[in-house]
Symmetry: C2
Subunit: 330 residues, 2 copies
């Protein structure tokens, strides 16, 4: 393999169409504990676009290559590498910049993935399904039959929540904005799917027979988050992991003092930083098992070559899509 590769690079923050370039780079030579990975698939996530625009809390040193997620295949390993070999499918680390043809990476930062998981799906396990898995484990001790409520239920993370909750025996109330999603998410495994409007509270009470809901997952903020807070049981936890409405959470004091709700957040990057490799791999093992059984399949709208980045990033930035936009390997 040639040591010269193509990578998307930006030298200043700004609109993707204006600041991104496709550049030739020389790969560094392979270190003892490193692996050379050829990229197979890398999605364009909202966080990637925010990072390029400088609107993300972590700013890379510029010039930088975007891309928090990606999967590839090991082509070559350094002499000290034991856990990987040529041909192993791997998930790339989130701080590498995945929008590139290939990379030299420390082997212990790579996660091996069974080869029967498609690279496009392997590439998308690291953010949304992991977020869903952790949110269903780290905040409230749930038992089979318990209810969880979430808004933005049609997002990639929302759909992962539906499938993981079902796997764990929890029941989901899924809140969406568009009517046409109701049937679709029921088919996808949502126990209850309801519209995010003023009737929501009564509709939830009827659908759950007023069962206490002790965990709410919020990726919208604003009014929608407040609705969830009013619906959940006293002492419930509301976990915020996204802010699609771009509106802050306004919490009446009584919900804190008298209803004793707990509001907190989840950010998967922080989880990776704070989590030991063994625990990280344990989560991945469970997600791989689900993926091998045909679950956690994120819908894909279209994949593009790296050279098509202007169209790809523009499409990814649009609201009305029917799945993720990805870069595919050469």
């Amino acid at each position: 393999m040639s040591r010269s590769i193509k990578a998307i690079v930006y030298r200043a923050h700004g609109k993707p169409a204006e600041v991104l370039r496709l550049e030739e780079q020389e790969l560094p030579s392979l270190g003892e504990n490193e692996a050379l990975v050829r990229l197979r698939a890398a999605p364009i996530n909202p966080a990637d676009l925010n990072a390029i625009e400088g609107k993300y809390p972590v700013r890379p040193t510029l010039p930088a290559t975007p891309g928090f997620e990606g999967a590839g295949v090991v082509e070559e390993v350094g002499p000290a590498v034991r856990n990987l070999k040529a041909g192993t499918q791997v998930i790339l680390p989130h701080d590498l910049g995945t929008w590139r043809e290939a990379a030299v990476v420390a082997a212990d930062k790579l996660v091996a993935v069974p080869n029967d998981i498609a690279p496009e799906q392997a590439a998308m396990l690291k953010i949304n399904p992991t977020t869903a898995w952790r949110m269903l484990h780290d905040f409230v001790r749930l038992k089979p039959g318990d209810w969880v409520i979430q808004n933005a239920a049609n997002s990639a993370a929302g759909r992962a929540v539906i499938q993981i909750a079902r796997e764990l025996g929890y029941r989901t109330v899924n809140v969406v904005r568009r009517k046409e999603l109701v049937e679709e998410l029921r088919v996808a495994g949502g126990d209850v799917v309801l519209l995010d409007d003023d009737e929501l509270r009564d509709a939830v009470a009827a659908a759950t027979e007023r069962a206490p809901i002790r965990l709410a997952l919020n990726a919208v903020g604003g009014e929608s988050a407040l609705r969830l807070a009013k619906i959940v049981a006293p002492e419930a936890t509301i976990v915020t992991y996204g802010a699609m409405s771009l509106k802050p959470l306004t919490i009446p004091n009584g919900l804190l003092i008298f209803k004793n709700l707990r509001f907190t957040g989840f950010w998967v990057n922080k989880w990776y930083e704070q989590t030991a490799t063994a625990e990280r791999d344990e989560t991945f093992a469970r997600l791989f098992d689900l993926a091998q059984r045909g679950l956690l399949q994120t819908k894909i709208e279209r994949s593009y070559s790296l050279g098509e980045f202007p169209e790809a990033t523009a499409r990814a930035a649009e609201g009305k899509r029917d799945g993720k936009v990805l870069f595919r390997g050469a």
Copy 2:
């Protein structure tokens, strides 16, 4: 003692001046496990006034007698009562209605208080010092030298936080609205006392040498609560136990997702409901010890007889006071 007593009663919710009456009541005869307690002191708390107006989350069955706090002396006990005898000073339960001359109470709902604690002070340990004690124990595992920040630091609960934190070896940043309180709260034991304005963040950083603050106590809401949230360390907990500004908490999503703050609340009534007698008494034992050593002395503005309730409740409702307003026993 006569079985006929006076008690303040209301038959409908409304302004205290309009709905309260002083009435004669017959005490019920003493049951096996009951004690007859003559009231010595009962404060007028904001929660009492809210309850009378029907603005409190728990509504009593009407007619009702107001008063969540009070202390008295046992005059007589039923034949099966072992833990109390005539002459024992006791704290009354919060669901009795303390604005009365005397009451017959189940003995196990009374907490015996050392007689060298003045009845006025004993009467005021149940809400504010208990709130302060629990908030410093139940949310973040602090160690000596750690910092805690609070607004409304001059309130009865705020002053209890200062004294209890000092006792436990924690350092306090105390935020107040009025300049003249700065020196006063320093004398009362506050390590750092600062004004609640736009300079607060820099002032805290300077005073604490940028030490991480992992616990914030909020009794104000609105802007002031948001300031605390911006000052505390990532993953800190903000406990809301009051809402003096009457403004909701508006939380930028980034503080939840990326800074991973935890917002929750504390309501002492709920704590009493959920806590076993032994654990409750353990907290009281520590508070009594502090009170006997001259700490946790709540400032008193004036005490009134029950018959003076129109003046007393009007005074208690005023903002600018220099201490609590109490009813005293006959």
